[in-house]
Symmetry: C2
Subunit: 422 residues, 2 copies
């Protein structure tokens, strides 16, 4: 890696180039953008050997530094992961172009015709941790949505990210788009992150992808908007008018289909009148799968082998085979618990009662609210967005799974025939 | 005014009350919200004498403090202004309720049905300057969109704002909604503003309304999102294929219909091939209206009595009877000038050429882009939003005139029948 001594000057230059490239990208045609995405896919495909050599440098440095096995695994670019990176690029090329969409076009009493047109945000900064495939995924989503991108990956993936970046820039140039439309920082100096999140003149929005610590730090210090994803403390509430079979299926799937994802169930709420039936049905199958159960006092009366939950459990994202369980009086108590302890990610009610389903949908203030469905569905692909750059737990701008539309803005367009205001 | 000694504690308490009230407001029915708006209107109507007495205190204090005539005028609550405040409340009651709207509801291959539901943002902080009628307008828009509000008006309008706030709170209670849903700060201490913009746990978004200095200061220091409106440096570009009559009408209206508004024309761009015809036609009528013309060298060759524009003119929002004029080579040069100097507020092209109109709409990166229409149309009422809390020059979340929809977020809703993820 070349030595960069003046980080502020380097970042300012890089930001200015991104801004210039973003102007060109904003008016790139759908054909140009898709050609670039396919050219990038072809380039990575024909440079697999280079990618793996560069990745090996990172893996060896990581092992020397004593990175743990999980981190080394995330860092590795296996042939299957390169396949999926290439496949992802082609899929994004196949998605509809969000830019230029015109909607809500209506005549007003004054005679003007007013509508809205979807446009790019401008320059998007992405700050992420060890997985190098994020470089290609994030760049592709930003490119398709007409945005220039500045990427800062984890220092442990430096060589892998540079190799992917080189392929991206060759693909852009081949399609006649500026290589500066996607720039990966050529330094691992942490000061560069500080610059990146405080350059409103060059970067319009920051998307951090990584652990909660990283995201909190960036949100606190950023001087530009941040699309952030903090915890996923998701709930299933089994209402006393639940279909017990659905309650079983949805609870088991929400908790055990995958443990480490943000849309995994963490706290199960059960209405008092159905608690005995539901918990006796669920406890053994959950425990057979190795799930540790932590219950409220009433839960402990019903099931064996559960340990007592503490207040802290209601606010914890386990990301593992642990489930906290609380018996609540009724729907009001369930909504109250959720609106107090949920991270506003995804919460689901199991009920056959129309009025309660409707109230849960209206009153639970989370980015995804479900009836009789597994929390594991909270995902850009499952929702039909075609792709996902992350899940926003904010309410501002984008909420829930963020696909291409979340990377855009809209402007008003007005068509007249010499109209003037009276 | 009662003395508040611990500002931080006062603001934390007020914020917590707003958060609690926002939960109730989020599930308030359309009927409840409209009843509250009409009750507030009735209350202000029957308390006109009190409003005017309290306003008089502010006017007298202002005169003693030596406020200038323009400021004292803005501060005054005349009977006509009270009428319009009351009428505004009733109009907002008559608008459709944005909250709870469900859209984009579709079945997915997995069998779940996914859509989106419009929800309030939560708690909105409004910081504004001297005009006390903003208190009622802003509170009404936030209330209708299901948000709690914390308002901090100008210190010079303190008594007027308190009197309006009392009426709002009585109206809320009469409709069975919490009085805390709208709180006006009971202090003029500037430290309270510092607290208000750094309380993400209690306030979700800040909307500053006032001069550029205020807005820049708040944007710089805020720790929550800000919907901001900076300059309105608006352009009209007269293309060489313009209909000269439309060029005349739109230019005159854009510049002279009102001088002090943000959507007023500030810089006129004219294509070289039509410059002589257009400028000779426009110069005298503009000057007859008292508009000072500041031109580029080519402009000065064509018209008399214009003074030379400096580089600074291209970046200046005059908010008065001054117009800068620049002759440009063609559409490319016009778009380039606009994307360099415009404040991304509102820009209009006058042309009969289909391709150029289409390019201008796509390539000018402003919140309102127009063809053959006066820039003065950039306004929430003219666009059919029914009301407007401001015009956003940001791209994030809300852009252009912000009505009720800009004060909302959306969540995903998922309906299943016991569906689980495979």
């Amino acid at each position: 890696m070349t030595e960069i001594t003046d980080i502020a000057a380097y970042m300012a230059g890089l930001g200015a180039k991104a801004r210039t490239a973003s102007r060109r990208l904003a008016s790139a045609t759908t054909g140009e953008k898709n050609a670039a995405l396919n050219a990038i896919a072809d380039d990575l495909d024909s440079n697999r050997a280079v990618l793996m050599v560069e990745n090996k440098k990172d893996l060896e440095a990581g092992a020397t530094k004593g990175l743990d096995a999980a981190l080394l695994d995330r860092l590795e670019l296996t042939p299957a992961r390169i396949d999926s990176m290439i496949e992802g690029l082609r899929q994004i090329a196949g998605l509809p172009d969000p830019i230029g969409e015109i909607f809500d076009m209506n005549y007003r009493p004054s005679g003007i015709q007013v509508g809205r047109m979807r446009v790019p945000l401008g320059v998007i900064g992405i700050i992420y941790e060890s997985r190098p495939n994020v470089t290609a995924d994030a760049a592709a989503l930003c490119l398709k949505s007409g945005n220039a991108t500045v990427l800062r990956g984890g220092s442990e993936a430096f060589h892998s990210n540079q190799a992917i970046a080189a392929g991206i820039q060759r693909g852009l140039e081949q399609a006649g788009l500026p290589a500066d439309a996607v720039q990966v920082l050529a330094t691992t100096d942490r000061a560069a992150v500080g610059c990146m999140i405080t350059m409103p003149e060059s970067i319009d929005v920051i998307i951090p992808r990584g652990g909660k610590g990283l995201i909190e730090r960036i949100s606190r210090d950023a001087r530009v908007p941040v699309i952030k994803h903090l915890d996923g403390i998701c709930h299933v509430y089994i209402d006393d008018q639940a279909d017990i079979g659905k309650a079983f299926d949805v609870t088991m799937n929400s908790k055990t289909q995958r443990y480490g994802t943000c849309n995994t169930l963490e706290t199960l709420l059960v209405a008092e009148d159905i608690a005995e039936e539901a918990l006796l049905m669920l406890a053994a199958p959950l425990q057979e799968k190795g799930v540790e159960l932590r219950g409220c006092p009433r839960t402990l009366e019903i099931i064996d082998n559960a340990i007592a939950a503490t207040e802290e459990d209601w606010d914890t994202e386990y990301l593992g085979p642990i489930l906290s369980i609380r018996v609540v009086q009724d729907l009001d108590a369930a909504i109250d618990h959720i609106n107090t302890h949920s991270s506003q990610h995804t919460d689901s009610i199991i009920t056959e009662n129309y009025t309660r389903a409707r109230r849960f949908l209206a009153e639970v203030d989370s980015s995804s609210v479900m009836v009789n469905a597994s929390t594991r569905f909270a995902d850009g692909f499952e929702y039909g967005l075609g792709a996902e750059i992350g899940i926003s737990t904010d309410k501002f701008h984008a909420r829930g799974p963020v696909g291409l539309e979340g990377l855009t803005s809209v402007k008003y367009i007005v068509l007249g025939d010499g109209h003037i205001r009276q």
